[in-house]
C-alpha cells in the first residue's frame, strides 16, 4: 500500500478532511470516503459527463481529477443544489415537471452542468444549450425533454 495523503476540501459549503490514496480519483473520494454518492460514474474516461461537478466554479469531470488535486478547493455537487431541504432548485423542479429524466443516472451531472450554464448565460439559445450539454450523455430520454426543462428553468430564473 502506498502512503495515504491527507486532504481538506469544501463540498457544498461543508468542510471535510479525509485520507486518500495518491491515485484515487475525486469521484471515488466523494462517493466512498465522504459518502456523497449523488455524483455518479459512467465511464471513468471523461466522455460521458455523469460525474460532472464544480471545482472552484469550473465544470469538471470528477473522474479525471485526482482527489489530491482538490486540496483546499471548493466543490459543488448535486447534494448541494436544492437551496433548502424542502425547496428544489428551478432546474430540479422543471426536470421533474417536464420529465427531463428517466433512469436518472446521468441526471446529477446534467443538473450540475445546466446550473453552470445558467450562471454564465441566463438566456441561452437552444443551440447554446445543446452544445453546452453535448458532453453529458443520456441514453434514455433522447434529450428533448432535457432541453425543454433547462429552457423552462432559465425562463423562470430570469423572471426571478
Amino acid at each position: 500500500m502506498t502512503k495515504r495523503s491527507h486532504i481538506s476540501l469544501s463540498v457544498n459549503g461543508d468542510e471535510y478532511e479525509t485520507l486518500c490514496e495518491p491515485d484515487q480519483s475525486l469521484v471515488d473520494v466523494l462517493r466512498n470516503e465522504l459518502e456523497l454518492t449523488g455524483t455518479k460514474e459512467g465511464c471513468s474516461t471523461g466522455d460521458c459527463g455523469a460525474c460532472s461537478i464544480r471545482l472552484d466554479g469550473d465544470l469538471v469531470c470528477s473522474c479525471l481529477v485526482l482527489a489530491v488535486e482538490a486540496e483546499g478547493k471548493e466543490i459543488e455537487t448535486i447534494e448541494g443544489m436544492a437551496p433548502k431541504s424542502d425547496e428544489l432548485h428551478p432546474l430540479q423542479r422543471h426536470f421533474l415537471e417536464i420529465n427531463g429524466l428517466q433512469c436518472g443516472i446521468c441526471t446529477p451531472g446534467i443538473l450540475i452542468a445546466a446550473k453552470a450554464l445558467l450562471e454564465k448565460n441566463s438566456d441561452p439559445t437552444e443551440t447554446e444549450i445543446r452544445f453546452w450539454l453535448a458532453g453529458n450523455l443520456c441514453r434514455c430520454t433522447g434529450y428533448d425533454k432535457i432541453i425543454r426543462s433547462v429552457q423552462a428553468a432559465a425562463e423562470e430564473m430570469r423572471k426571478g
Binding site: 459512467g42 474516461t45 447534494e79 433512469c103 443516472i105
Partner: protein, 760 residues
C-alpha cells in the same frame, strides 16, 4: 371485453420515481455497500479465440489485500449460464458460456479469472499481473466466414433456423418483377449509462443467497439460479434497486452475477462487482449484427407475391440466456405490416469470436424493418410507383384482422396480430406531416443543390406477450396504498405507470400509491420488464386487481353505510354516493380500519395472445458531400399504442428509442479487427448520440386500435421509437444523394457515406 372508464389514463402526471433522483439520492448498484465486503475484478481474455494452456496467478496473489483468486478449476462444480426456461433448446446447450472459461476463450473479454480483494484498486492492479498462456486458434469475426470449430468436433454454425409458409417457389415463378438485395446491420448495443453491477450477500443464519443489482427479469433469473445452483426457491433472493437504463441488455443473467453469489457463500463475505465502461463494451450483450440476402417477388401492380430471405446472424462467442430468440424474432417480423402470401426465411445462426449477442431494444425488428423497407424502396424505384402508394397497396387492412402468420415448421410459434388499421395510420400521419408540402419543399431544396431527402419505415411491433402476471394491492389504515408487483423498473417510469392505472381503476390519488417491484422475496411471481411487456402484462394485472379491490371496498362500504353497492362510487379515496358531493361517505382508510381482514386484493391477468402496436417513422436528412456527415433535420414517429397510460412517459419512450435508433443508423458500431480485437471500448469510439447532433423528435400518438386482449386495450410503447429508424434514415439518405438503393449497410458513418459518394 367490456369497456372500462379511463378518466385518468393518458394524463401527463409527473413521475413518482423522480424526487430522489433529482436530489442525487438514487441508490444504484454502485451505491450499495455491505460491511466487510470484498471487491471482485474479472481478468478477461485478451485473445479472441485460443486454447488456454496455463494460467499463472502467483504474482497477483502475492499482492497485499488479495483474498482469493479463482480460475475455472475452483468452480468446476458450476454448470454453464443456463437459458431461461422458456428459451431452452437441447441443440444449443453446448454453446452456453461457462462462468469462467475452462479450456478455451472465445472472445476478447471472456472471463477467465476472478480476483477477490479488500479494495477495488488493489483488485485491478492484481488483475494486470495474471498471465494467461494460450495457443491461438482461428479467429472468426464475421458470420459470413466459413464456419469453424466451436469446440472439438462441434461446428460454430449452431443451427439453421427456418420460418416458412405458402408456396414461395410458385410466387417467384409467377412474378412480374423480382428484386434482390444484400443488406447488413452493424453491431450495436443498449449501452445504458449505468454499467452493470452485482453484489452477492450470503445470510448464513437463514442460508439465503441474495443478489443486489438485479434488473429486468429478477424472478426469471431467480428461477435460472435455482436450477444452476441447486438451491430451493426461497433460498435465493434477487433485489432490484435504482437501475440506470436497461434496453434489453441489462438484467440478463451473466457470469459475474453467478460469481458474486457463489463467492459470497464460499468466502463468507459479501462480494461487490461494478463493471467499468471498457468491460461493458466487451462483456455485456451486443446485438443487431446480421447480413441478409433477401428477395421479393411482385406482380405488375406491385402487389407482393412472395419474399425469401437467407441471413447470417453473428451470435458472438456463446449463446446466452435467450437462446435463438433474436433470429427467430427477425424471421417472425420480417413481413411486417404487409400482405406477403408466401414466405421463406433461412437463418445461419453462427458463433463468432466477438462479444456474445442477445436482445437489444426491438430485437430482430430494427433489423428486419430495415431489410423489408429497403425492399419496398427498391421496388418503388424499379416499378416507377410512388413509395407511399406502393406501401399502401400492400398493407394488411383492418378487415383482415386478426391476421395470422401460420408457419409450416413444427414448434415455430404462429403469430396472430390482434388488430390495427395501418392504412388509417398512414393517412393520419401524412396529413399530420403535410407530406406533400414537405416533399415539394425538399424537391425545391434539392433543385437548389442541397442533398436533402425523406425516408419512411412502416412497422408492426409485438408487445405484452403472456402468459400471466399478477399484483397485490393493499390499503392501509391511513389510506396509503401499496402495489406489490414482480415487475421491474429500468428507468422507464414503471412506478408511475402502475400507480396511474391503479388510481384510475380504484378512484384514488396516485401520489398516495407506493409501487414495489424487483424483490423476489416479497412476491413469488413476476414477469419483469422486457419485450414491451411491463405496461401490458403487469399493468393489466394491476388494473384487474384494482377493480377487484374496488368491488371489495364498495361491498364493504355498502354494508357499513347500509346502501346498495351499485349506488356507490370511489372518488379520491372516499366511497360516496355516485355523483353526490355530500351525503353518506366513508374513506378507504376507514374501511381498512373497520374490516377485520383489512382492505387488500390479489388478482391476475392471463393471456395467450400478444398485443401488436404499429407505427410509421419518417426521417428528413441532409448530407454534407464534403465530409459525408449526415444531419437528421427532422424525425417523426406516428404510433398507435391502443391505450395510452401517460402521454409524457410514452413520448419519453418513443423519443428516447428513436434517438438510440439514430445512433444505430448513423454513429454506433462495435467494430472488431481481423484478429477479433474490439476497436470500440470507450465512448470516444462507440459514439452514442449527443445533444448537439440530434433532432427534436415529433410524435403523433393514436389510440385507434385498443388491444382486445386486455381490459384497457393496452399495447407496448418501449420499442416503437426505435423499430423503423434505420429504415427511414436509409430511405432519406438515398433520396438526399439521388442514388436509389445507395444504403445497404448500417450505420451510415461519414466514411461509408463518402465512399458511396466517391463511387457514384
Amino acid at each position: 371485453m367490456a369497456t372500462q372508464k379511463k378518466d385518468l389514463l393518458g394524463q401527463r402526471l409527473t413521475r413518482l420515481e423522480d424526487p430522489p433522483l433529482i436530489l442525487g439520492q438514487g441508490n444504484y448498484a454502485a451505491d450499495i455497500n455491505f460491511p466487510n465486503q470484498l471487491h471482485m475484478r474479472i481478468v478477461r481474455s485478451p485473445y479472441a479465440h485460443a486454447k488456454i494452456t496455463s494460467i499463472d496467478t502467483a504474482e497477483a496473489a502475492a499482492i497485499s489485500g488479495i483474498v482469493k483468486i479463482w480460475t475455472s478449476h475452483d468452480i468446476a462444480d458450476l454448470p454453464p449460464i443456463d437459458f431461461r426456461a422458456d428459451k431452452s433448446s437441447e441443440e444449443l446447450k453446448p454453446f452456453r458460456q461457462n462462468v469462467l472459461a475452462t479450456d478455451r476463450v472465445r472472445y476478447v473479454g471472456d472471463p477467465v479469472v476472478a480476483i477477490f480483494a479488500e479494495d477495488p484498486y488493489v483488485a485491478e492492479d492484481a488483475a494486470d499481473l495474471v498471465v494467461i498462456n494460450v495457443e491461438q486458434l482461428r479467429v472468426i469475426t464475421s458470420a459470413d466466414d466459413e464456419p469453424g470449430e466451436f469446440d472439438v468436433g462441434l461446428s460454430s454454425e449452431a443451427g439453421l433456423l427456418t420460418h416458412t409458409y405458402g408456396d414461395v417457389d410458385a410466387a417467384f415463378a409467377a412474378a412480374d418483377t423480382v428484386i434482390e438485395l444484400d443488406l447488413r446491420t452493424g453491431r450495436h448495443s443498449g449501452v445504458p449509462m449505468e454499467t452493470r453491477g452485482a453484489i452477492g450477500v450470503y445470510d448464513a443464519d437463514e442460508d439465503i443467497l441474495k443478489l443486489y443489482g438485479a434488473a429486468k427479469v429478477p424472478h426469471r433469473n431467480r428461477d435460472t439460479l435455482v436450477r444452476m445452483l441447486g438451491r430451493d426457491e426461497d433460498k435465493i433472493e434477487l433485489h432490484e434497486g435504482h437501475t440506470g437504463g436497461g434496453f434489453g441488455i441489462r438484467g440478463e443473467l451473466y457470469p459475474e452475477d453467478v460469481l458474486v453469489l457463489v463467492a459470497a457463500m464460499r468466502l463468507g463475505r459479501s462480494v461487490k462487482w461494478i463493471e467499468d465502461r471498457q468491460e461493458h463494451m466487451m462483456a455485456a450483450n451486443q446485438g443487431r449484427n446480421q447480413h441478409h440476402l433477401v428477395k421479393i417477388a411482385v406482380d405488375k401492380d406491385g402487389m407482393i407475391l412472395g419474399m425469401e430471405d437467407e441471413f447470417f446472424h453473428d451470435q458472438g462467442g456463446y449463446v446466452r440466456t435467450h437462446g435463438a430468440n433474436v433470429p427467430n424474432r427477425t424471421m417472425c417480423m420480417l413481413t411486417g405490416a404487409y400482405n406477403v402470401p408466401a414466405y421463406r426465411a433461412l437463418c445461419h445462426f453462427r458463433l463468432t469470436n466477438k462479444t456474445p449477442a442477445a436482445t437489444y431494444r426491438a430485437p430482430g425488428r430494427f433489423e428486419s424493418t430495415f431489410v423489408r423497407e429497403r425492399l419496398m424502396d427498391a421496388l418503388a424505384v424499379k416499378l416507377g410507383i410512388d413509395r407511399i402508394e406502393l406501401r399502401r397497396r400492400n398493407l394488411i387492412t383492418s378487415d383482415q384482422m386478426p391476421f395470422s402468420l401460420n408457419f409450416d415448421e413444427p414448434g415455430v410459434e404462429d403469430m396472430e396480430i390482434d388488430n390495427g388499421d395501418y392504412p388509417q395510420l398512414l393517412d393520419k400521419a401524412l396529413n399530420w406531416l403535410k407530406w406533400d408540402e414537405m416533399e415539394a419543399d425538399l424537391e425545391r431544396r434539392r433543385a437548389a443543390g442541397e442533398m436533402v431527402g425523406s425516408g419512411i419505415g412502416v412497422f408492426v411491433e409485438e408487445s405484452g406477450k403472456g402468459p400471466s402476471d399478477g399484483a397485490r394491492i393493499s390499503v392501509d389504515e391511513n389510506g396509503d396504498i401499496e402495489i406489490l408487483t414482480g415487475g421491474a423498473s429500468l428507468g422507464q417510469g414503471f412506478e408511475t405507470t402502475m400507480a396511474q392505472i391503479c388510481a384510475n381503476a380504484l378512484g384514488v390519488d396516485y401520489q398516495r400509491i407506493t409501487v414495489i417491484h424487483g424483490q423476489t422475496n416479497l412476491i413469488p411471481y413476476g414477469i419483469g420488464a422486457h419485450a414491451a411487456r411491463a405496461t401490458v402484462m403487469t399493468g393489466s394485472a394491476v388494473n384487474v386487481t384494482a377493480l377487484t379491490l374496488r368491488t371489495k371496498a364498495l361491498d364493504l362500504a355498502a354494508e357499513m353505510l347500509q346502501l346498495p353497492a351499485d349506488s356507490l362510487d370511489i372518488v379520491d379515496g372516499t366511497v360516496i354516493v355516485t355523483d353526490k358531493s355530500s351525503g353518506p361517505s366513508i374513506t378507504l382508510a376507514e374501511i381498512a380500519r373497520r374490516n377485520e381482514e383489512g382492505l387488500a386484493a390479489e388478482d391476475f391477468h392471463k393471456t395467450k395472445e400478444s398485443a401488436f402496436p404499429y407505427g410509421i417513422h419518417f426521417a428528413v436528412v441532409k448530407v454534407d458531400p464534403e465530409t459525408g456527415s449526415i444531419d437528421v433535420e427532422r424525425f417523426m414517429v406516428a404510433y398507435d399504442v391502443g391505450c395510452m397510460v401517460n402521454e409524457m412517459l410514452l413520448e419519453g419512450q418513443l423519443v428516447g428509442g428513436c434517438i438510440q435508433g439514430i445512433g444505430g443508423a448513423l454513429y454506433e458500431e462495435f467494430v472488431y479487427s481481423d484478429e477479433g480485437e474490439p476497436m470500440a471500448v470507450t465512448f470516444a469510439d462507440y459514439m452514442i448520440p449527443t445533444l448537439d447532433r440530434v433532432p427534436t423528435v415529433e410524435c403523433m400518438i393514436t389510440e385507434d386500435a385498443p388491444s382486445p386482449h386486455n381490459l384497457l386495450g393496452l399495447k407496448g410503447g418501449g420499442e416503437g421509437g426505435i423499430n423503423g429508424v434505420g429504415a427511414a434514415i436509409a430511405g432519406a439518405i438515398d433520396q438526399a444523394v439521388g442514388i436509389p438503393g445507395a444504403i445497404t449497410q448500417l450505420p451510415v458513418t461519414p466514411q461509408r457515406m463518402k465512399e458511396i459518394l466517391n463511387n457514384s
